[in-house]
């Protein structure tokens, strides 16, 4: 597969209150970002279990991004702080396992930041595309 | 404290007193000004165009040699300060400028931006401290009403120069208070004297300069001080009714080293 054709698989976890709404706003404002990003709605960034991210990489995702409300603005007061701490640990472990740090990211996107959502996604897809396919954690048994 | 010092071309010719008083005062204040060995003329004005690289290289070289000396760079002439500071900012923010300057110079030009550029007045305020100057004054200029003339080069563009509030500066006023005189606030103190236009349109320059000295005199100033040889030249050419002198002259006078 040549680099030009490589289309990364990217899973984006978005909290329902800020980032999912921010993604909607990006749509309402017709701001483009690559179709490689597929969003999973979660109530809060703290709902994202590290296992979900491991599962994504196991199933062949090339990048995983977690978006939540800005620190201090969490709908559930403190959820994004939990998420930030958990992800810091998880990402450094993944880095150790050979999943480059650039393949994982946490971003804060508020409901009003449609433009930021699009910018973040464009940038993330670009970064992951440059890294190429992720094979390190992919479970070949999952492949058909 | 030791600083690298960039005097600039005019301070070696028509504005020797700006330079001389500055050196003597610095000495009196315990500051060593170490003149850069190989400085070249800054070019007088900063060219804002993105594709003008060569015109900015003398500033890059000055920054680079100060970095080699390991000192912050002190400037005195407003024009030199403006050009060097803007060049530093461009190196800091513009990758293209960096690349092209590096190609010209055969080294990594961005490193030049590490050099801190401070104007002599900023040195007085932030390094020496106006309080300290007040203590060292032997000949306070009590009763003198002095108008600070900033012009444009020291203050603008405000975001790059970071010198003072560009619309309501107070550094020279504080300086005037430190040497025992009374500052005169007048609205034209941050407006342009006419600058280089005097070469082609002396009348237009005169109009600008006249507005400045009329404003200062109207508010009761008995003298105007500046850091810029061109401002001084234009104001005097426009027949200022009150003397226009360099701020370093007053500093030297107050410190008793004139």
């Amino acid at each position: 597969m040549s680099m030009n054709e490589f289309k990364p698989k990217i899973v984006a976890f978005c909290c329902n209150w800020c980032s999912y709404a921010g993604a909607d706003l990006a749509g309402t404002n017709r701001l483009n970002y690559p179709a490689d990003v597929k969003i999973i709605r979660v109530p809060c960034s703290c709902r994202v279990n590290p296992l979900f991210i491991l599962r994504a990489f196991q199933r062949g995702a090339d990048g995983v991004i977690l978006c939540g409300c800005h620190p201090g603005d969490c709908h559930y007061t403190t959820g994004n702080y939990y998420a930030r701490r958990r992800m810091t640990l998880l990402f450094s472990m993944l880095d150790y396992l050979g999943i480059e740090k650039e393949r994982t990211r946490v971003e804060w996107v508020s409901a009003a930041e449609g433009a930021k959502f699009a910018t973040v996604m464009n940038d993330f897809v670009k970064t992951v595309t440059e890294l190429g396919e992720n094979k390190r954690l992919e479970d070949l048994r999952c492949k058909k | 404290m030791t600083f690298s010092y960039y005097p600039g071309c005019t301070l070696k010719t028509k504005a020797k007193e700006l330079d001389g008083y500055a050196r003597r005062s610095a000495e009196a204040l315990g500051i060593t000004l170490d003149e850069l060995a190989d400085w070249q003329c800054c070019g007088g004005v900063y060219t804002t165009a993105k594709d003008e690289i060569a015109t900015k290289l003398s500033s890059v070289r000055a920054l680079m040699s100060a970095k080699k000396e390991g000192n912050a760079l002190v400037t005195l002439c407003s024009a030199c300060h403006n050009v060097i500071k803007q060049t530093k900012h461009e190196l800091d923010t513009n990758d293209d400028m960096n690349l092209r300057a590096s190609n010209y110079m055969g080294c990594n030009a961005r490193e030049a931006a590490d050099t801190e550029v401070i104007h002599y007045l900023e040195m007085l305020r932030d390094v020496v401290g106006f309080d300290k100057i007040k203590e060292k004054v032997v000949n306070p200029l009590t009763g003198r009403k002095i108008a600070a003339y900033y012009g444009c080069l020291l203050l603008r563009p405000g975001k790059t120069m970071q010198f003072d509030n560009p619309e309501n500066p107070k550094i020279i006023e504080d300086f005037i208070r430190a040497i025992g005189a009374t500052p005169v606030i007048y609205p034209m103190r941050n407006e342009c004297c006419g600058g280089y236009i005097t070469v082609k349109d002396a009348e237009a320059a005169k109009k600008n300069s006249t507005a400045v000295h009329e404003s200062a005199a109207g508010f009761g100033a008995d003298c105007i001080i500046t850091a810029c040889p061109l401002c001084r030249y234009n104001l005097i050419k426009a027949e200022s009714p009150i003397p226009v002198i360099y701020f370093t002259e007053l500093l030297a006078e107050a410190l008793g080293v004139k």
Binding site: - | G44, A49, A204, I236
Partner: protein, 127 residues
């Protein structure tokens, strides 16, 4: 409408003329306003319209003092002075586009003329 020139001006100045909201504060603050045929706000608008030739041929480009009052006070961060500079450079870079020659200097200089004046004038008016 000269699109190539327009692009050149926008590129060399680094200014986004579309940010202008036409308030005229640049012209309300310009100390050289009275000397100019085209005023700072017109520079911005005419670049947007691509009317660069008119600007290049106008003496207005030599009247700007580069004092940056318009840049400092613009509420939209448009930086009109950079536009004027870019247009002037485009004009002086043309063959025979110099606005100042060495021959003129002796008539201008007097005993007090600071070197700074001549250096800056040449930088502004001659290529």
């Amino acid at each position: 409408m000269n699109n190539n020139l327009k692009e050149e001006i926008i590129r060399t100045s680094g200014v986004n003329v579309l940010k202008c909201m036409r308030c005229g504060k640049c012209s309300g603050t310009c100390p050289s306003y009275g000397e100019m045929e085209y005023h700072p706000h017109q520079f911005v608008y005419m670049v947007e319209k691509g009317e660069i030739d008119k600007l290049m041929d106008s003496p207005s480009i030599y009247k700007c003092l580069s004092c940056f009052a318009c840049v400092e006070r613009c509420p939209r961060g448009v930086e009109p002075a950079k536009i004027v500079e870019a247009v002037r450079l485009a004009a002086t870079r043309r063959q025979g586009g110099n606005h100042l020659t060495a021959e003129e200097i002796p008539c201008i200089v007097d005993d007090d003329t600071p070197g700074q004046l001549l250096v800056s004038a040449f930088r502004k008016y001659k290529k």
